[in-house]
């Protein structure tokens, strides 16, 4: 049982839309894995099929070695899912919600763990409040807590920080990172690419139901060709020869794209020859956003 998640040639069609078109990937135990892609790429569909909320038309999916269809009780015990939608049961308090969720997994005497996650997610003051009385951020924490009540080895977070304030986002990531360090496999989908870059060791990029990139975050970043150079010039004039390289004029500075560091000296030499003085110079590293944009353009 070498992988936490194995997905092999999974296909799913909704009417005329091919939501997943032959997805295959394997996520190792203990990985922090990112699933990126534009809206409609198939990320949530893939998660739904893994969690048993939807069924694949074809292909095999395993969680901790258990087939999600044929061995669903084992597969679901191994998986905790934080859904994208802010859903809750308005009849119950936070503590009741967590106890009930724990009971669904057949866990007896789980109150100590329920109390611990209530505390760690900073929900203690709201533990006996009805779910309806909670703010959006608090409801999001309860969703995270619900996904953890049965201590699953694999945790999937489907855009957990959408619409969440900065403080909670930081808290959430700190908590999820700790879980990962404690050995949990974490799969994350997010629209905040800096988040994926900071947290995920490996990333798959989906587009129109296909995987268009799958590599370590470091390799993906390395794969982006070139660097960017931000310049502030006096006089404020960029020689016409650099027009093709200009990415953006940002206020009084110019951002130029170049294939390698070696080209920087050439740019500076040309500026000197035209008696243009460099007031400020900054070399920008490629980030995941550049990778994402490049991949999306290519496919």
């Amino acid at each position: 049982m070498p992988f936490a998640i194995e997905v092999s040639d999974v296909r799913k069609r909704f009417g005329t839309v091919q939501a997943l078109d032959g997805i295959s990937l394997a996520i190792g135990k203990g990985e922090f894995f990112g699933l990126l892609g534009p809206n409609g790429a198939g990320k949530t569909t893939l998660i739904s099929i893994l969690a048993g909320l939807a069924r694949a038309d074809a292909g095999l999916l395993r969680v901790m070695g258990y087939d999600v269809k044929g061995q669903y009780p084992h597969a679901r015990r191994a998986l905790g899912v934080v859904p994208q939608e802010l859903v809750f049961d308005p009849f119950f308090t936070v503590r009741e919600t967590l106890r009930i969720q724990s009971g669904y997994f057949g866990l007896r005497n789980n109150d100590a763990w329920v109390d611990e996650i209530i505390e760690r997610l900073d929900l203690t003051s709201k533990a006996d409040a009805n779910m309806r009385q909670l703010s959006g951020g608090m409801k999001r924490r309860v969703l995270v807590a619900q996904a953890l009540v049965h201590k699953p080895p694999v945790i999937i977070l489907d855009e957990p920080t959408a619409g969440v304030d900065v403080e909670l986002r930081q808290q959430l990531w700190h908590f999820v990172r700790e879980l990962n360090q404690a050995g949990h496999t974490v799969v994350l989908t997010t629209h905040y690419l800096e988040e994926a870059e900071a947290l995920c060791s490996r990333i798959a990029v989906l587009k129109q139901g296909r995987i268009v990139a799958l590599d370590t975050t470091r390799n993906l970043l390395r794969g982006v060709s070139g660097v960017r150079l931000r310049l502030r010039l006096t006089p404020d004039r960029l020689p016409a020869v650099f027009a093709d390289q200009l990415v953006v004029k940002d206020g009084d500075s110019y951002v130029l794209a170049m294939e390698s560091y070696a080209q920087i000296e050439g740019v500076l030499a040309h500026l000197r020859s035209e008696r243009i003085e460099v007031q400020e110079l900054e070399v920008l590293q490629a980030d995941l956003e550049d990778v994402f944009v490049q991949i999306m353009r290519k496919h």
């Binding site: 739904s48 048993g52 009780p73 899912v81 859903v87 009971g103 669904y104 997994f105 057949g106």
Partner: protein, 251 residues
């Protein structure tokens, strides 16, 4: 707690938390029916020898309330969970279709019986009602509530919107219970409608239940028992099938 017991507990807690609406309100409605109908018809309608019309109404109203509330419990729980999206908290768990089915149906049976018992207790003060065969009463109460609980699961899964569920309730459940001989004996009907009543499964639930009270019924109680058991088997099979295939639940 096992998953099944937790889901059952949650379903019981759900209606208990709003018991004013789920228990007290239907008991009051049944009491109003009893007071109004008995006032208007007590001296005009005689169904069974030695049984007053008001006493005749009591088991009928109790069964009608029991059936309608059993249906309301499973169907409203499912549609609310589907529409608010919190059904995923159940779908993400290792609960089997059978455990899910049993939990929803048993919660429906409990609510149905609590309401039915409440109706009997509240209305008994207005009529001389004695129970001749308590076991028959219990058996028909449990089977009837079970059937409507299973039907509630089917309706709750099938309906995408509250008005579809309301249509199911208003155009199927309510007419079939009203026409099941709650307020009259089918023997008082013209022959065609008597025969038509025999195609209404709710008729057997009410008639068998009433037999337990009065030792008198429109059809033999064993026929009612057979029909009711058959219905329960059929609807249980259908709702289990829906849960197993994930129809409208797992896409």
């Amino acid at each position: 707690m096992s998953g099944f017991r937790t889901l059952l507990f949650k379903e019981l807690l759900r209606f208990w938390k709003v018991s004013f609406q789920t228990i007290a309100a239907p008991i009051l409605t049944a009491l109003l029916y009893l007071l109004i109908f008995s006032h208007a018809l007590e001296s005009r309608v005689h169904v069974y020898p030695g049984v007053s019309y008001t006493a005749f109404l009591v088991p009928g109203l109790a069964m009608m309330s029991l059936l309608q509330n059993a249906f309301a419990n499973s169907s409203s729980s499912l549609i609310q969970s589907k529409i608010t999206g919190n059904i995923i908290f159940v779908l993400l768990t290792p609960l089997s279709p059978l455990e899910t089915f049993l939990a929803y149906v048993l919660a429906a049976v409990v609510r149905g019986i609590v309401v039915g018992l409440g109706v009997v207790l509240v209305t008994a003060g207005f009529a001389d009602v004695s129970v001749q065969h308590p076991l028959w009463v219990l058996v028909f109460a449990v089977l009837g509530a079970g059937i409507l609980g299973a039907l509630g699961i089917i309706a709750g899964i099938w309906a995408d919107k509250f008005d579809q569920l309301a249509a199911f309730q208003n155009f199927i459940i309510v007419p079939l219970t009203f026409l099941a001989g709650v307020f009259y004996s089918v023997h008082s009907l013209p022959p065609f409608w008597q025969r038509a009543s025999h195609f209404n499964p709710f008729f057997y639930m009410v008639d068998g239940f009433r037999y337990g009270f009065f030792d008198a019924s429109d059809v033999p109680p064993y026929l009612s028992l057979a029909m009711v058991t058959g219905c329960l088997a059929l609807l249980s099979g259908l709702s289990l099938r829906l849960l197993h295939t994930g129809y409208k639940l797992r896409h």
